[in-house]
Symmetry: C2
Subunit: 300 residues, 2 copies
């Protein structure tokens, strides 16, 4: 779920050409009916206390599935220990959405060590190197003119972002940007994906311009996009851009799919954090989620 | 894709407890890497000319997959004939999104005739009976006070709908409502699903109230919701409702999953059509999609 669940979405996209079985990202209380003892399950919950994940863990245990858990502790740690299942324990004390590397890379490495996928160390090293460079370029000390994330956050101030990606790295990045705007900047944000959005949402930007002039369209781009998708993005932009306050394109960087995915996610993370500052809110706490969990706990 | 693709989303939800293999709804140009000659494929395109579907059809043919096509004609019909694959030909001349029954039920019946699923005739009859009754209740001749769809469309006039469903019939209905608002009423609309939305979007309704007061929250409800989901919906509503212009709940009707899914979809179809009338637009044509396809054809 949420900031933990998106690790599954990333893995699904990174391995989409490589793995010859369906990778199913399960967000909810129940596991699908096709799961059986031949299904390899990853239970991913940063806190280890996400009730949906714990519920799915229990169901998978009853079916006799092999389960690899990833958590910083919590009830998932205890459940894994109780059932003698492996747990990859990651450092605690941060927000789940800040732990994206910790939540994603262990899945890749576990699959690599089991010879299910090829060695990913080169891609992981490329990613870490690129993000370290990027962290400097986007750091708080850099002024707006030299800091793309600060610059974009200024443009987004007071507006609702709509983030479009396309099949591949930018699709999961669009989802992540949306969630980071929600959780860090505490604002509404929406996302969709090419080519599917050409079959519905494209028609929606016709009326209510008085409201959508307060929206900002962010197109996440990747040089690896197929030609047909590039063309769709260009045409769609020309058809709808007048209905937005403004439009910007943000491009993925790097060679491997992993790096391209994380590069564009990382940029959005900075944008959302700077936007929180502009909004005068602390990006870290998510009071509503805490309150909701408290109220849910009272009624269980 | 679009109005044709949603038939796959419906089938996935209807059969989620019954079928012991993953049902994968594929929206894009490429089929997943796990597809092989043991994968049963349905190629669904109302026009038969959807380029993404044709691309996937070709890939599946090359892999030797059995493919059942559903189309009113077009290149998919020719392709199916050329490769000696079965085609379920459905009536032409309407919009894909008006053909939802034609696009969905043949998949159920094909699976039933192949003994992959139990007989669904009772559910189909329940659905048809309920929709016929509903068509009378929601008809144009009925005044607003006696016509829930007209009443809701009046409330939505000038506003952006946000539609929330939850795992099950209301999830796919929320997607459908969003798309129908886009395509029929030509307005932006957004959707999300419990419990996942509690992990991100719930925090987004904190700031920018000056914009979101023009939004309208529609909660799609189903008596089959698990208790935990019911509780989540109630708590979430109490946390976020002040940030919307208004909130309404719409409940599914009927016994079977199929009927509950179609009942709530059907109500939304009427709401979006009445909203088009209020907006002074013809709900039928989708000029932007037509224009986009023309421009894409020019560049291929």
């Amino acid at each position: 779920m949420g900031g933990s669940g998106i690790s599954g979405d990333i893995i699904k996209i990174i391995l989409s050409d490589e793995v010859k079985v369906p990778i199913w990202v399960n967000k909810g209380y129940s596991i699908p009916s096709f799961v059986d003892r031949g299904t390899l399950c990853f239970a991913v919950s940063y806190s280890g206390d996400t009730e949906e994940t714990l519920s799915c863990f229990d169901q998978a245990v009853r079916l006799g599935c092999p389960i690899i858990s990833i958590a910083s502790g919590g009830m998932l740690e205890s459940a894994a220990q109780k059932h003698g299942m492996p747990l990859i324990k990651i450092p605690g004390g941060i927000q789940p959405r800040s732990a994206l590397g910790y939540l994603t890379l262990p899945i890749l490495i576990a699959l690599q060590k089991s010879d299910i996928i090829a060695n990913k160390m080169e891609d992981i090293e490329e990613t870490i190197k690129l993000l370290k460079d990027k962290a400097k370029k986007l750091s708080l000390s850099r002024p707006c003119e030299q800091n793309g994330a600060k610059g974009l956050s200024l443009k987004l101030f007071g507006r609702i972002p709509v983030v479009y990606g396309s099949d591949g790295p930018t699709a999961v990045a669009a989802l992540r940007w949306k969630c980071q705007f929600n959780e860090n900047a505490k604002i509404p944000a929406f996302w969709h994906v090419f080519p599917e959005l050409n079959h519905n949402e494209t028609v929606g930007w016709e009326l209510l311009e008085n409201i959508t002039e307060n929206f900002y369209l962010i197109l996440l781009r990747d040089e690896g996009e197929p030609e047909r998708i590039k063309r769709r993005i260009e045409i769609t932009r020309s058809l709808i851009e007048d209905h937005f306050g403004d439009v910007v394109e943000v491009w993925a960087e790097g060679k491997s799919k992993l790096t391209r995915t994380f590069s564009i996610i990382y940029f959005g993370d900075f944008v959302s954090a700077y936007l929180a500052v502009l909004n005068g809110v602390d990006p870290t706490p998510v009071h509503r989620i805490t309150l909701l969990k408290k109220k849910l706990a009272e009624s269980s």
